[in-house]
Symmetry: C2
């Protein structure tokens, strides 16, 4: 099947090269994606072709990245005093040093923490007692905490840390412009939940510690804001507790493992969410549990490859098998890119600049460009690292231009780190209006005028 | 003089090694610092010994770092599409591409922008018109914007980006806890003012764009918050426009070039500050102007080595020569570490933990630990890079422990990236008070309850 896809003179030449590097699978994947992407028109979103791309994409990004991480984590560490020791997450060492508290007890099932059943009551009591920390900072504008993070270790691929830096700068900008607070995590709170499950204990901890936060917004470190002007349609979610990018049909009917994406989602701070986290977590514990769960997910979900359980598949599985229990509080958003797959967006930025403007959030000007499968911090991404880095620079600059225009500057091109002036300085700076009205937008003003 | 300092069996052995690496000066500097530091007691702050250390420190950090950066900046760049092209700041290219607007005209003196004389009037008008963006967010709590940044290029020393990432995570934490907004700059707004002068055009631009900001807090990327509980004594600065760490005697009497530090300072958003920036900038333009100004500064200031003009020396010079014009609005703070030299702090963290607690901000628990001379992002620091990185990790973890304790965790040691639980989970999370009361502190609450 793979070889079939690789027929074609020019492609075969590339295969021969690839064979020398022993990267047939990856190359064919890339070719498949490239070829298919050619056939997709701008804005043709959620089409079978694109699903197909995303299947490939998720397939390789999840499948090969994880065993690699596991491998790295079971290495034994030298002294942590050695700044070149990057094996801080050695689970064996953690368990040894931490003693019982962290050692998993096979007899009882994994839990994220003591059962809490009256969170809504506890929280509303607290909110009444603390009027200075309202959970709504404006009419229908909830207080939001954006949560992201990365490993406390330097990247295996050294340039990766530079892209993590650009990625957090990008998030700081969007969040400052929209009155959102940022939490950047660098700690592994639960050794059992390492990998893409680490966000669960972190999210629960933050919900319980921050009753003033109404919505927690999780965003992967490889996702960047590319529409600095788009404010989330909070009103639309007033009756929902969990907002992800996805499609009802793909999740509930097709049980397609990429019917939704867990790289960027909103979770309301309430009892329902704690229950959801409890329902979500059991497939996460590293080792036998996660491996066995992976088999269940693969057999139950459409197009899911064989590999250990991942948080995204688990969520599709929960929703598809228990829709009546969770469905009415889950909002699968696809009217704009709460998560947007980079493969179908980054080559269209110039076209977007030509035809559209920030503030739309959808295929015309995506809110988020998510570099699924790029793994700039790891050694084994699914795409040629040069392509990923070049495109991440373009995405960063595309978003950064919207911040720079506030101050009268822009990048010389989407490929350039250099900036140039687009407005002359004036002695009446307050008379200058930035085109996007990002400097003092209403949606930010309410933040301060509240309560 | 240098050789004198190097006498001593063990030291000489180290010199022979160093000679092979051609690092005599640096080594002797380090030995000098080490030897002297031994003689300094805890909290003996602002003593001649320490000044001496700082002189050496600043000497080497400034002197050798700058020519290196200049060198790098005049390299010619390959295409910016090449993700391995790190010469984005090639001035020649910028000037060529930008055309006249950026090319310096030797006939007229450099200015930061069109002269503005009525900023206080313009700004107060704006504030009246925009009650939703008050410049004070609580009784005597000004709205503050913390400004920091780094080059848009990956670090020459690849691990440097990881420390920039940790440094911004550290700042995000302090600013979230204290209701301060963050601006992370990655753009060179004015090619003429590259290097440590780049902050001037940036600061002016931000003051003029953000009339709602009362105080702009500049912090170097190599400075980290090590006291997450210390709130600045805003009341103390109600009649001041410019707050730096320093000593009146060292600046006004001794004209000592390290009588103050410009790595962490507060600047009020007002006409006085624009005038100060205009008075500060003329020594900045790269090339002949900066070189000639360097000679003036060296001859006028105590202990200043021979090298091009730097922003810190220029500020000491301005204050020392025009005290009557500026002095009454400048507050040289030394009651706490608005800037704290790492050399006299990082080895005392354990002692501080033993005897004191966060919230003091001074030698007992420093607000800021500033890694002057470490240059983790550059190739040529003044200290062995391993020592710098190890100590930056300790400073990060020291500060991070105060954030982690909020959630019931701590680093296993100041040298360890790993964290461990310090509290058991509970089903009544809101009954748990974090020791430092950082979770919902009054100084943050007022932020929301204002106006």
């Amino acid at each position: 099947m793979i070889l079939e896809k690789c027929i074609g003179a020019q492609r075969c030449r590339r295969i021969q090269r690839a064979l020398r590097h022993g990267k047939v699978t990856i190359l064919c994947l890339v070719l498949t994606v490239v070829v298919l992407r050619g056939t997709i028109g701008a804005g043709k979103f959620g089409t079978p072709e694109q699903d197909f791309i995303e299947i490939r994409d998720h397939f390789y990004s999840r499948k090969r990245a994880e065993p690699h991480r596991v491998l790295e984590e079971v290495q034994t560490t030298s002294s942590d005093d050695d700044p070149n020791n990057y094996n801080a997450f050695d689970i064996n060492t953690i368990l040894k040093d931490e003693g019982e508290e962290e050692k998993p007890d096979p007899s009882k099932p994994y839990t994220l923490g003591p059962k809490i059943s009256n969170w809504d009551e506890q929280r509303s009591k607290w909110l009444k007692k603390n009027p200075n920390f309202p959970n709504f900072v404006g009419p229908s504008k909830p207080r939001v905490l954006l949560v992201t993070g990365s490993s406390p270790k330097p990247c295996e691929n050294p340039v990766g840390d530079h892209y993590l830096l650009k990625s957090i700068k990008n998030k700081i900008d969007y969040c400052r412009l929209h009155g959102i607070e940022v939490f950047y995590n660098m700690a592994l709170l639960d050794a059992e939940m390492a990998g893409f499950w680490a966000k669960l204990p972190l999210i629960r901890k933050l919900l319980l510690s921050h009753p003033e936060v109404e919505f927690l917004w999780w965003m992967d470190s490889d996702a960047m804001f590319t529409d600095m002007a788009f404010e989330l349609p909070w009103e639309r979610y007033k009756d929902s507790n969990f907002v992800m990018h996805g499609w009802n049909e793909m999740v509930y009917d097709d049980k397609n493992w990429i019917g939704l994406n867990t790289g960027s989602f909103l979770l309301r701070n309430c009892q329902w969410s704690l229950d959801m986290l409890d329902a979500w977590a059991p497939m996460g514990p590293k080792g036998k549990v996660r491996d066995e769960a992976g088999k269940i997910l693969t057999s139950a979900l459409k197009n899911r490859p064989v590999f250990e359980a991942d948080d995204q598949s688990a969520m599709v599985y929960i929703l598809a098998t228990q829709r009546e229990k969770w469905g009415d509080k889950v909002y699968l958003e696809n009217a704009y890119y709460l998560h947007g797959y980079w493969g179908i967006l980054v080559d269209r930025y110039e076209e977007m600049i030509e035809n559209y403007h920030p503030g739309l959030g959808d295929h015309r000007w995506p809110l988020v460009t998510h570099f699924v499968g790029c793994k700039p911090c790891g050694k084994f991404g699914d795409y040629p690292v040069e392509r990923c880095l070049k495109q991440m620079d373009r995405a960063f600059n595309f978003g950064d231009n919207q911040v720079l225009q506030i101050y009268g500057f822009t990048h010389k091109s989407l490929a350039s780190r250099r900036v140039k002036r687009v407005r002359n300085e004036t002695s009446k700076p307050l008379k200058v209006k930035d085109e996007l009205g990002l400097l003092h937008p209403a949606f930010k003003a309410v933040k301060v005028s509240s309560s």
